[in-house]
């Protein structure tokens, strides 16, 4: 089917507009689901009956017990097949790997299954499938396909035979055409019936095969991945903006100051020179401001030389004297470096603005797979991370890469900002 998938699954299609539903792919997929239920159900019935029957008969000799232990294996296989089949109706249902974890080779899977604890909901589903689903689906399909089929084909069939549909005798062409019309309406009704049945069955299958907990774990994992992805995307975007500003406006401003500097050399003393000198000063201020902005977005020295060099630069710029003690060999992942840089930057800014400190210390080290950075000042303390300081935002940013941020600032000081972050 080439029709664009306008509905994400059969259930939402069912609740949509009738015409769009009827012309969509979903009634057909639901039909395929129900049709395939019959053979699958039969096979499961035979397999379960054979294993349980034989097992019960031979239970006295140990063989039967061994045979019975393969029931979980069967139900697990059934569950796997059914999860795959479920996607006919609910394509977005997650193919959650059961407790065995993501196994790759069939042999590994088998081993995982063997050691798997018995899943009662999977067994329940297998029994339901083997005894109820395929029977119901088979009957519904026969009725639901036969009635509209016969009615729609009535204009053809009437030429060879008379028909009796639910007590209505059709033997002339004049009667056959209304039957055709009714057949079409019946077909549409059947499409709804089939889809509703498939949806109900699929929902039940999902509840039994795909427990809520597993789905939540899955959703959480996906959220965590997407959050980390978002942080990465933000960081990449910041680096891009930094590069754009550096290659664009900043270069032009430097060129402008160069030109103005040359003009100053060319001009004789007088109002002209004064104006050019003033313009030169203004251009330099603009350049300095732009540099400060770029630093706030994503400092170049961090991109080029890593965290240690960038922290040294921060320390050198801080109005409060800063001692640094950095044990950072090599580069860390970009999101980690960025987060750590902005923690130090924000902490030193707060120190300079609010703490009244006379000096500060920055320590950074990596133990195992964890980066720890602390910024300590000897100020008056009493800082509240929630007081609209940038640290609250940084804490959120760190959380996204599984890091932590602690601020301890008792009244009277000292204030300690401590962050940790995995480096992998």
């Amino acid at each position: 089917m080439t029709r664009p998938a306008t509905y994400p699954d059969a259930w939402s299609a069912l609740r949509g507009r009738p015409w769009r539903f009827l012309t969509s792919v979903w009634p057909w997929r639901c039909l395929a689901y129900l049709v395939s239920t019959v053979p699958v159900g039969l096979v499961v019935l035979v397999a379960l009956a054979a294993v349980i029957g034989l097992g019960a008969l031979t239970a006295v000799i140990v063989v039967g017990l061994l045979l019975l232990t393969s029931v979980p294996l069967i139900t697990t296989v059934v569950a796997e097949v059914e999860r795959a089949r479920l996607r006919l109706v609910l394509p977005q249902a997650h193919a959650t790997t059961p407790a065995g974890g993501p196994a790759t080779t069939p042999r590994e899977r088998l081993r995982a299954w063997r050691t798997l604890p018995m899943s009662w909901s999977e067994l329940g589903y297998a029994v339901l499938l083997a005894t109820v689903f395929w029977v119901v689906d088979g009957l519904v399909l026969i009725l639901a396909l036969a009635v509209p089929g016969v009615l729609i084909l009535a204009p053809l069939l009437v030429r060879v035979d008379t028909m009796d549909v639910a007590g209505w005798q059709i033997d002339t062409a004049a009667e056959a055409w209304p039957a055709f019309g009714i057949g079409l309406v019946a077909a549409a009704t059947v499409a709804y019936l089939i889809t509703a049945l498939a949806c109900g069955q699929a929902a039940l299958a999902r509840v039994l095969l795909d427990p809520l907990e597993a789905r939540l774990v899955d959703a959480v994992n996906q959220l965590r991945r997407s959050r980390a992805g978002l942080v990465d995307a933000f960081a990449a975007e910041r680096r891009r903006i930094e590069r754009d500003l550096h290659d664009g406006a900043q270069q032009r401003l430097v060129a402008l100051t160069m030109t103005l500097g040359q003009a100053e050399l060319e001009l004789d003393r007088g109002p002209g020179l004064d104006l050019v000198t003033k313009a030169h000063g203004l251009a330099e201020e603009a350049l300095a401001e732009l540099r400060a902005t770029v630093r706030g977005i994503h400092p170049q020295v961090l991109t080029d030389h890593g965290l240690a060099a960038a922290i040294h630069e921060l320390a050198g710029r801080s109005p409060v004297p800063v001692d640094t003690d950095l044990h950072l060999d090599g580069r860390l992942p970009a999101p980690v470096e960025t987060a750590a840089y902005f923690v130090v930057s924000e902490a030193l800014t707060n120190t300079a603005r609010h703490s009244g400190a006379t000096r500060a210390q920055v320590h950074a080290w990596v133990t195992g797979q964890t980066l720890t950075v602390t910024v300590i000042d000897d100020g008056r303390g009493g800082a509240e991370p929630a007081d609209g300081s940038g640290l609250a935002g940084l804490a959120a940013r760190l959380e996204a890469i599984d890091g932590t941020l602690e601020v301890t600032s008792p009244p009277g000081g000292p204030t300690t900002v401590r962050m940790t972050c995995p480096t992998t």
């Binding site: 430097v254 100051t257 160069m258 050399l265 630069e313 050198g316």
Partner: protein, 233 residues
Amino acid sequence: MPDDLTAPAAPGRTALRIVLAEDSALLREGLAGILEKAGHQLLAAVADADALLAYTARHEPDVVVTDIRMPPTHTDEGLRAAVAIRARHPGIAIVLLSAYIAEAYVADLLDSTAATSQAGIGYLLKDRVGHVREFLDSLDRVAQGGTVVDPDVVRHLLARRRNDGPLTALTEREHEVLALMAEGYTNPTIAARLFVSEAAVRKHVGNIFAKLHLDPDSDRRVTAVLTYLRGSS
């Protein structure tokens, strides 16, 4: 302003033969314009380190002026090229231009100077180029074998060490003298800038070297001071 800083561009200056490397076309043209206007002979203006090395080998210029951050990696291509030039052509003076202060650069710069000839070396922030006179003056000092370090870099280094024992022992005036020494100025220039006598500067310099336990007879006093400030002494 003392005379030696505000001397007019062309006359009185030695025309220098220069190879320039800067990846931004805008800045390259601007720099080329400034250098030519000042009466220097621009042998080549190139956009990357490979070309810089090639033209330097071909022309043997007096001075190489190069951006540090150039393609392909945009980190320290220019610096590595400078180290290579030092090794192959020890007589060529080198001016490095940086967009920001990176202490790693200063360290590499000092190591490469200490190990080699008397040829001058300079480390300037790009913003300095806008101060055309100051820039051309720095260029001349480097061409004459001097070491020139951007005042912002010196301030930065001083800020890092300001709590260290020996530095706190310096007087305000000695601090000023130390900063100018680190920038690469000679005693007469420092005297002119601070409006004091040369003898007074000599006395301050002596005090500084004593307080910082540096060798007063070192002919590489800029390197000595910068190494001290870097904290690896």
